[in-house]
Point group: C2
Chain length 216, copies 2
C-alpha cells in the first residue's frame, strides 16, 4: 500500500503544480490506489519530517517500510514495480532513465529559473536584464527536446516515467507562451496531458485544495 505525503494547504499559485502530481500521475498510470498523509507547511521543518525529507519539501512516498523522497527516485522505484512506467528491456530502460534524468537535470533547472522570473520577479530591478539571459538557455533546451521528438510519440519508446517528469517540467511555463513556439513539444505535451491518469491525478490535487482552502 502506498501513502503519499503532501501539504495540507499551499499558496493558490501552486495549486495544480505541487510536485506530488508527478507521483499521483504515476500511481494512476499503474492503477495503484494510495492514501494521503497531509502535513502543514510548518511541519516541514520538524526534525521528524527532515529525517524523511532532508530538504523540507513534498512529496514523500511510503511503500511499506520504505520512505522515499525526490520525485525522480520515487518514479524510478515505482517504475521497477510497475512496468507500465518503465520498460523491462535493458536498452529501453536505459533510454527511459536517461530522459528521467534529462528532465530533472538538463531541462528543469533552466525552465525553472525562467518560470520563477516571469511568475514572481518581474517587478525586481534586475528582471528585465535577466530575462533574455534566462530565456536563451531555457528556449535552447526546449528546442532540443522538440528536435528529439521528431518522429517520436513519447520521449523514450512507450509513454512512461520520463514523460511524466518532463511534462510537469514543461508545465512550469504554462500561460507564458514559450512552449507553444515548438510544435512537436506542444503536441507531445498535449498528448501527455490528455491521458486519463493525468486528468485524474490533477483533479485529485486540485480538489484537495478546494476542500482545504489555499493559504497565501
Amino acid at each position: 500500500m502506498y501513502t503519499l505525503t503532501t501539504f495540507r494547504s499551499v499558496p493558490s499559485f501552486a495549486v495544480g503544480h505541487v510536485r506530488d502530481l508527478r507521483v499521483r500521475w504515476a500511481l494512476e498510470e499503474a492503477g495503484q490506489s494510495y492514501d494521503l498523509r497531509l502535513i502543514g507547511f510548518e511541519d516541514k521543518e520538524s526534525p521528524a519530517y527532515r529525517r524523511e525529507q532532508p530538504f523540507a519539501q513534498v512529496p514523500v512516498l511510503h511503500d511499506g517500510d520504505l520512505a522515499l523522497f525526490e520525485t525522480g527516485a520515487i518514479l524510478l522505484h515505482l517504475g521497477e514495480r510497475h512496468p507500465v512506467l518503465l520498460p523491462r528491456d535493458p536498452a529501453a530502460r536505459a533510454q527511459a532513465t536517461m530522459w528521467m534524468f534529462a528532465a530533472l537535470n538538463s531541462v528543469e533547472p533552466y525552465v525553472g529559473n525562467l518560470a520563477n522570473l516571469v511568475a514572481f520577479s518581474m517587478d525586481q530591478p534586475w528582471a528585465e536584464a535577466q530575462r533574455p539571459v534566462l530565456e536563451e538557455i531555457a528556449l535552447k533546451r526546449l528546442g532540443q527536446v522538440d528536435d528529439w521528438l521528431e518522429g517520436r510519440t513519447y520521449l523514450a519508446g512507450e509513454f512512461g516515467a520520463a514523460d511524466i517528469l518532463m511534462t510537469t517540467v514543461v508545465r512550469l511555463l504554462d500561460g507564458m507562451g514559450y512552449v507553444e513556439r515548438f510544435a512537436r513539444l506542444t503536441a507531445w505535451r498535449d498528448r501527455c496531458t490528455a491521458r486519463p491518469a493525468y486528468r485524474k491525478a490533477l483533479a485529485a490535487q486540485v480538489a484537495q485544495y478546494v476542500v482545504e482552502p489555499a493559504v497565501a
Copy 2:
C-alpha cells in the same frame, strides 16, 4: 568495454570540472578501464552526435551497443553493473538513488546558479542584486546536506554513486568560501576527494588538457 566520449579541448576554467569526471571517477572506483573518444567543441552540434546526446553536451558513455547520456543515468547504469557504486539491498539502493537525484535536482540547480554568477557574471549590472538571492537558497541547500551528514560518513551508507555526484556539485563552489561554512559538509567533501579513485580520475582529466592545450 567502456568508451567515454568527452571534449578534446575545453576553456581553461573548465579543466578539472568537465562532467566526464563523474564517469571517470565511477569507473575508477569500480576498477574498470575505459577508452576515450575525443570530440571537438564544434562536433557537439552535428546531427550524428545530437542523436547520441540531444543536449549537445558531454559525456556520453558507450557500454557495448548502449550509448548513454546524462551523468545520473550513466552512474545508475554503472551502479547496476558494479555493486561498489550502488548497493544491492533494495532499501539501501533506494536511499542511494534518492541522494543521486537529490544531488542533481535539489542541490545542483541552486549551487550551479550561484557558482555561475560568482565565476562569470559579477561584472553584470544585475549581479550585486542577484547575489544575495542566489546565496540564500544555495546556502540553505548546503546546510540541509550538512545537517543530513550528522552522524554519517557518506550520504547513503557506504560510499557510492550519490557521493560522486554530490561531490562534483559541491566542487562547483571551489574557492568561493561557501562550502567551508559547513563543517560536516567540508569534512565529507574532503573524505570523498581524498579517495584514490577521485585523484586518479581528476589527474586523467587534467592530463588530457595538458596534452591538448585548452582553447579560450
